[in-house]
């Protein structure tokens, strides 16, 4: 990876470069589930980066592709929303900079418009941000012991769903000691792109033809749908499938808590099926 040129437009496919390497990764998926998890989170055979700076800039390069597109589009939509609802540029941009969590930002604008109190707004936005708890708790244990210190409390602000999805996949082929630098490079770019994105959205609000707006809205869910195809661990694939089924059902029952309940139900069910059947079967299958 470090020796071969990196396509700046290729954010997620960047790990698989030569045909020889691709064969190795395909062989990995054939191996048992147990070793699959261990190889995906623990040992990395070859060194991908020579230094932390190398890892940082690789994160920035990977971010320039799909993650930047997705975040920029989302923030353009948010900026336009701020403009059309009578918020000023400073406030709208500061929201993206300080919160950096699109669903929460939208909830906050809507609640300010209906005149909710600051306390209610804080509670509602915190509820929409609960996904960050599990995202952080699943991503940061993969970092090197040395990096798991107090400084993470500052760096965690760079974490959004986009950077999380990309990091989780890329960490599998990065040595633990370089993972934090990669994450900071990727996350910093995503965070900083949200400011110009919001400003552009604010300035072009109302001037953009409807089809373009439609494309901008659609790019976000499409990105996450596509990243699901990159997940190799069968237990997590099952979690995605069951979450997809539980999601709409929970949403129709109760909108506000649907994500949390769908995650808990779908995820726990997938975990148990994986533990009781899939892993046991894999252990029998492999000598």
């Amino acid at each position: 990876m470090s020796a071969s040129p990196i396509d700046p437009n290729d954010s997620l496919g960047g790990t698989i470069q030569s045909p020889a390497e691709r064969v190795t990764s395909e062989m990995d998926t054939i191996e048992s589930h147990q070793s699959e998890i261990q190889s995906s989170t623990h040992s990395v055979a070859r060194a991908r980066f020579t230094s932390n700076a190398d890892a940082f800039w690789s994160g920035v390069r990977d971010g320039r592709g799909a993650p930047a597109m997705v975040l920029f589009a989302g923030m353009v939509g948010f900026g336009a929303m701020g403009r059309t609802n009578g918020f000023d540029l400073w406030f709208t941009t500061a929201t993206s900079f300080l919160m950096f969590a699109l669903p929460g930002q939208i909830v906050m604008l809507e609640m300010i418009l209906v005149g909710a109190s600051s306390l209610t707004i804080a509670l509602a936005t915190t509820l929409t941000a609960t996904r960050f708890v599990t995202m952080t708790a699943t991503l940061f244990p993969m970092l090197h012991e040395r990096d798991r210190n107090k400084a993470l409390y500052a760096k965690v602000h760079l974490l959004a769903m986009t950077a999380w999805a990309v990091s989780l996949k890329e960490f599998q082929t990065i040595e633990p000691k370089h993972r934090l630098s990669y994450f900071v490079g990727l996350g910093l770019l995503c965070w900083l792109i949200s400011v110009p994105g919001t400003i552009v959205g604010f300035l072009i609000a109302g001037s953009v033809p409807m089809p373009i707006t439609l494309g901008l809205i659609f790019i976000n869910p499409l990105f996450f749908l596509l990243t699901f195809t990159e997940i190799k661990v069968s237990g997590y694939r099952l979690a995605i499938l069951l979450g997809s089924i539980a999601g709409p059902i929970c949403y129709l029952l109760d909108r506000d808590t649907s994500l949390l309940t769908a995650g808990l139900i779908g995820g726990t069910l997938a975990y148990w099926i994986d533990r009781c059947w899939i892993r046991r079967y894999d252990q029998k299958a492999s000598p």
């Binding site: 406030f91 708890v133 089809p211 975990y271």
Partner: protein, 126 residues
């Protein structure tokens, strides 16, 4: 009104200050709440080993949560995307996934562009 005229009008009033302290206070509270969730995650991550069963369970829950959000945005959207018929939304997703799988190096950007441009085209025809 032409695009340039509306852009010019936008720029004309873009930098005015409109928000009172109440909105800024709400932003401060919301930012603190959002950051709190990230901080709790860091705190929790210090207790979690990546080889533990708890980590596997938590990962499964997170994946299910992200999947639920994605499916909701595609199948039960609100606003402009809801004006696109469901079968067209599914069709665009299928074609984008097709591009993702068809390319041996599994490129994300071409698949993302395919889906987005198809949606723009649908918008033009609607």
């Amino acid at each position: 009104m032409s695009v340039t005229a509306s852009l010019a009008q936008n720029l004309d009033t873009a930098f005015a200050i409109q928000q009172g302290w109440g909105a800024w206070l709400a932003l401060l509270a919301a930012s603190l709440g959002t950051y709190l969730c990230r901080a709790v995650g860091v705190m929790l991550s210090g207790q979690v080993s990546q080889d533990s069963e708890f980590f596997r369970w938590l990962s499964a829950v997170t994946y299910a949560m992200v999947a639920a959000l994605t499916i909701r945005l595609i199948f039960l959207p609100i606003g402009l995307l809801a004006t696109v018929p469901l079968y067209l939304r599914i069709l665009v997703c299928m074609l984008a996934l097709g591009v993702m799988f068809a390319n041996p190096s599994r490129r994300l950007v071409p698949a993302l562009l395919t889906g987005t441009l198809l949606m723009v085209t649908i918008g033009v025809m609607l």
